[in-house]
Amino acid sequence: MSANLQACSFLLGRLDREVAKLKALTFPGHHTGPRKWLSFIAGILDTAKSYLAQAETQGFPAAESERLVREAERLGDNAYQLLTFVAGTDATQIPHQVVAPFQRWVEALGIKETIFFRAEHLPNYELAWIDLRHYGLINGATKSLQDATLAIDWPALRVSVPGHAMGLLPHFAVVGHELGHAIQDQVKVDLTPFTQGIGDAITRAMARLNADGVTWAHEHSIRTGEILKAWLNELKSDAVGHYLVGPAFFFALCGFLELSGRGSGMSGSHPPSDLRRELLFQKLNEGTPSFAAILATKTGLLITEDFNSPNIARRLPDTQMYEELRDRIGKVDAAVTVELTSAIAAIAPTIFHAAQVHLQATSPDLVYTPTQLSADLDRHLDLLCHLVPPVEFMNAGQLRPATLSTIINVGWTALLTKVDQFPTIRGFGGSPPIAARMESLHELLLKAVELAEARQLWEELA
């Protein structure tokens, strides 16, 4: 047995044991995504082991044998890397209470893909999707790999949320945005009226680059397409976040950006943060009554655009912005992003409208409205100040469970307007009084999510 075959065999055995150990863990909400993923990895390992067994066959051509070992090494390396995809999905990392309600959002949004949620020790909300559906076509794929590949609805989706310190429940409203990414291709935006504006932006980017010694080429067109697609998808997802959780999404996104960087946020993957904030702020003030008006009337909270995110950097004039950006993200990305900003701002109202039309058509019950906010605050806000979690409410003589959107919005409103009125809290020794009260609010909201989910389940089973 050659040394590299021996080493590979050892690696595959260790990975096998690691996968078996992970399969024995409890995954919050009993969601099946991580287990399907682990079976997929186990299938890859089985295939790699079958390569090694074949390579050891007596009389097998040496060159073929070496190739099989090399490919088994690659599969082992693949399996090792794919394990990182499920890191943080177990119950020790992610608040177990939130997974089942998130899964309800997933189902109500019609997301069919295999999905799982995980927390990581990073200031990051993210939807990662990975498409390995062709792995069943690897030469000599074992039945276990073929079956596991078929068991996953591709692409597999993984929602990441920050763990522990940054995982305050109201902030989880940002998950609405991440699930927006999962349905972004279903939100259809007619861009025909904006062709001219996009074309003009590209012409300006070309001129800016030309003046800076860069001649436009096909790869720049492709890069522009990538940026435009990424920006459009960010705004679609912001729109979905807004329609799912209303003001809580504005508070959560801006609060998160304030805590986690405060930069302009402008890059090939994201439009400027202050533009996103501006668009969401406009939405909060739309309609009669608007979300903003209800918050003002019922709590006295007067929202301004930057009231919980005063330190997010604002855009600079175009030329200055280009000069600041080009050393960080390169001339092409800098020129394209600077020039596309006005074009994407012009498309934004159409994007928000398209998201609203899509949600109204596919999952109208999920759309959070000012009327709902008004009712939620009437029912739950004062009680929450007396440490009663927003679990359920009376409707036409029947108790109904509170939705996740209700809990998060009541939570945000309490956090912003009432937390100092909470009774003195025991059990958070050493924390400043306000921090202790916020911690208590977090615990109450988690309890609300858990009990509301239990009531929902009970009703379904009854």
């Binding site: 693949n78 390995l132 792995y135 076509l137 522009t224 397409g225 990538e226």
Partner: protein
């Protein structure tokens, strides 16, 4: 997001099997059909996405057909240097050829050869890149003043 081709053994095996089909080598019937199905999908998407550099309203392709655009961007990255402006036509030709083979139609040898050249070009580019993979640099975290 597709897996990086250099770590995607499945893509490599599909392309290799595609070459065997083009060369009329012996290949298991079930695998032949599965591989052809995958190749038709891959090259048809890439061909459609290639309008991102050829069509008048090219930017809309990226926005209206994201998977096709991403597939083309992948081939563009690996094959633009070899095939240049011909790449869109070559991808569309590969889609036609694999579709025709799937339907048991005759293909002129010159077309088969051109598609084989494209597939070999992709495999060569993937192998070249995998030889150049760098190790991650050591991470340091310290104030820089």
């Amino acid at each position: 997001m597709y897996a990086s081709p250099i770590s995607d053994l499945a893509l490599e095996h599909i392309l290799e099997s595609g070459l065997r089909v083009l060369n009329s080598d012996l290949i298991d019937d079930g695998r032949r059909m599965s591989v052809l199905h995958a190749l038709v999908q891959i090259f048809t998407e890439a061909g459609r996405g290639s309008a991102a550099v050829t069509a008048q309203n090219h930017m809309l392709i990226a926005l209206e057909e994201p998977p096709a655009f991403e597939r083309f961007a992948l081939f563009f990255r690996y094959l633009n240097r070899t095939f240049g402006a011909d790449l869109p036509a070559r991808l569309n030709e590969a889609s036609q050829v694999f579709t025709a083979i799937e339907q048991d139609m005759d293909i002129p040898p010159a077309m088969r050869n051109r598609v084989a050249e494209l597939v070999e070009g992709m495999l060569t580019a993937i192998h070249r890149e995998s030889r150049l993979v760098q190790l991650a640099p050591p991470k340091e975290l310290r104030l820089s003043f």
